[in-house]
């Protein structure tokens, strides 16, 4: 979609294709893909590469027993096929092709078991005008952030990889303006100071993979907001 201006870097998308992006970052990419056909194409190309790389591996045969076993199972699968089909089609029918930019991505809906940002149990943080929800994630850290309209975040910087997807509203910083659907893909130590747009709260999903660069509790709160 052309209105999305900021995308994950192609190395990030490649790792997502490879299945090697830590869960917290992969979640952000997965949510972005649901509204970005450009990145979906890139991920698909990365999966083609994966298929070709897999084909180039030195084959390691399964045991004869496994082969016999699969042959036997084909018989059973033939009989059970029709009922399995209807489930498959229902699942594939639920794909939304053109999600609205402010709608909650379905991956998040699945994770949160909710589809309304305003009804989520937002927790206040020590930073003024910043609320958050920490998402359960054992590879890296993921959280939803809600920055009050017009709120200026403290200047900060980080190490490690961090992806931030704007889900509603937006912010501006030294890099530019970030609107719903945009992703900030950051790995640097540059400082930045995001300022939420005036017209509405900015809601975003931030994922990071690195151990915290700063140990302090204040830094931990601000960490997901990325070093630019």
């Amino acid at each position: 979609m052309s209105r999305i201006e900021h995308h994950p870097h192609e190395d990030t998308l490649l790792s997502y294709s490879a299945g090697s992006l830590p869960a917290a970052l992969a979640l952000v990419v997965g949510c972005h893909l649901q509204s970005c056909s450009r990145c979906r194409s890139q991920v698909r190309a990365g999966e083609e590469l994966g298929g070709e790389l897999m084909s180039a591996l030195t084959p390691k045969s399964l045991s004869e027993r496994a082969r016999d076993n699969v042959l036997k199972m084909l018989e059973q699968q033939v009989q059970g096929r029709n009922s399995a089909d209807s489930v498959d089609f229902m699942a594939s029918g639920s794909v939304e092709k053109t999600p609205r930019a402010t709608a909650m991505p379905s991956l998040l809906v699945n994770l949160l078991n909710a589809d309304d940002f305003d009804a989520l149990p937002w927790k206040k943080t020590i930073a003024p005008g910043l609320k958050q929800i920490v998402l359960d994630c054992d590879e890296g850290q993921a959280r939803l952030l809600r920055i009050a309209a017009g709120q200026k975040m403290p200047v900060h910087s980080h190490r490690g990889n961090e992806l931030t997807l704007i889900l509603r509203g937006g912010y501006s910083d030294a890099v530019g303006e970030f609107h719903a659907g945009d992703v900030a893909d950051l790995d640097g130590s540059t400082e930045h100071q995001p300022v939420a747009f005036d017209d509405m709260d900015c809601i975003c999903l931030a994922g990071m993979d690195a151990p915290l660069a700063f140990k302090g509790w204040l830094a931990k709160l601000i960490q997901p907001f990325v070093g630019m």
């Binding site: 997965g30 084959p59 390691k60 991956l107």
Partner: protein
């Protein structure tokens, strides 16, 4: 590849034809051709990811059975069989041993989603391997570790002693090289 000489005709078109016969007439002999070709490769992929041999064998069987059961969802104009199977195997592995990443991927039922990219049915592993061989060592290494070992950028940086920024730029250069060899196709 050890067995390649024995099957010179077996390119992407050939495998897509096998899939069509499985979908249309539940043709077991076509399926077993697919099985005998792809299951050792899926198995090798899973072993490379660190799966124990019994787990790899179970998951490889499961991936190939998914191919049998969902052959009717396969569209040759959307993806090569190897792409489709890679995605199934990757997702199975993530579901089994890396549960957390499962939160980040659409289910396999959405495999046929529309993309604008052109499918390169005739690309095969041999050609790709040749490109890999021409890459500088550090580029080949980051591709290898990303795909075969499932390592994140940070993990690769830690293991190789490369700075994180170099890991990322090496990957980008490798992507560029693959594109040059396999055509642009909007990637």
């Amino acid at each position: 590849m050890a067995d390649n000489a024995a099957e010179p005709e077996r390119n992407g078109e050939f495998w897509a034809d096998c899939m069509a016969r499985v979908a249309e007439s539940r043709d077991k002999s076509s399926f077993m051709l697919l099985f005998d070709h792809f299951s050792p490769r899926v198995n090798a992929y899973l072993l490379g990811q660190g799966a124990a041999s019994s787990m790899a064998e179970d998951l490889a069987q499961e991936a190939l059975l998914a191919l049998w059961n969902k052959a009717h969802l396969y569209h040759r104009d959307k993806a090569a069989v190897s792409t489709w199977l890679f995605r199934v195997a990757r997702n199975l592995w993530i579901d089994k041993l890396r549960k957390q990443r499962g939160i980040a991927y659409e289910s396999d039922e959405n495999l046929e989603e529309t993309t604008d990219s052109e499918v390169r049915l005739n690309a095969d592993g041999e050609r790709l391997k040749a490109v890999l061989d021409t890459l500088p060592l550090n580029q080949a290494q980051v591709v290898y570790k990303s795909y075969y070992e499932g390592k994140s950028h940070s993990e690769i940086a830690e293991e190789t002693g490369m700075p994180l920024g170099s890991v990322k730029s090496s990957l980008r250069l490798a992507i560029k090289a693959f594109r040059q060899h396999f055509g642009e196709s909007g990637v």
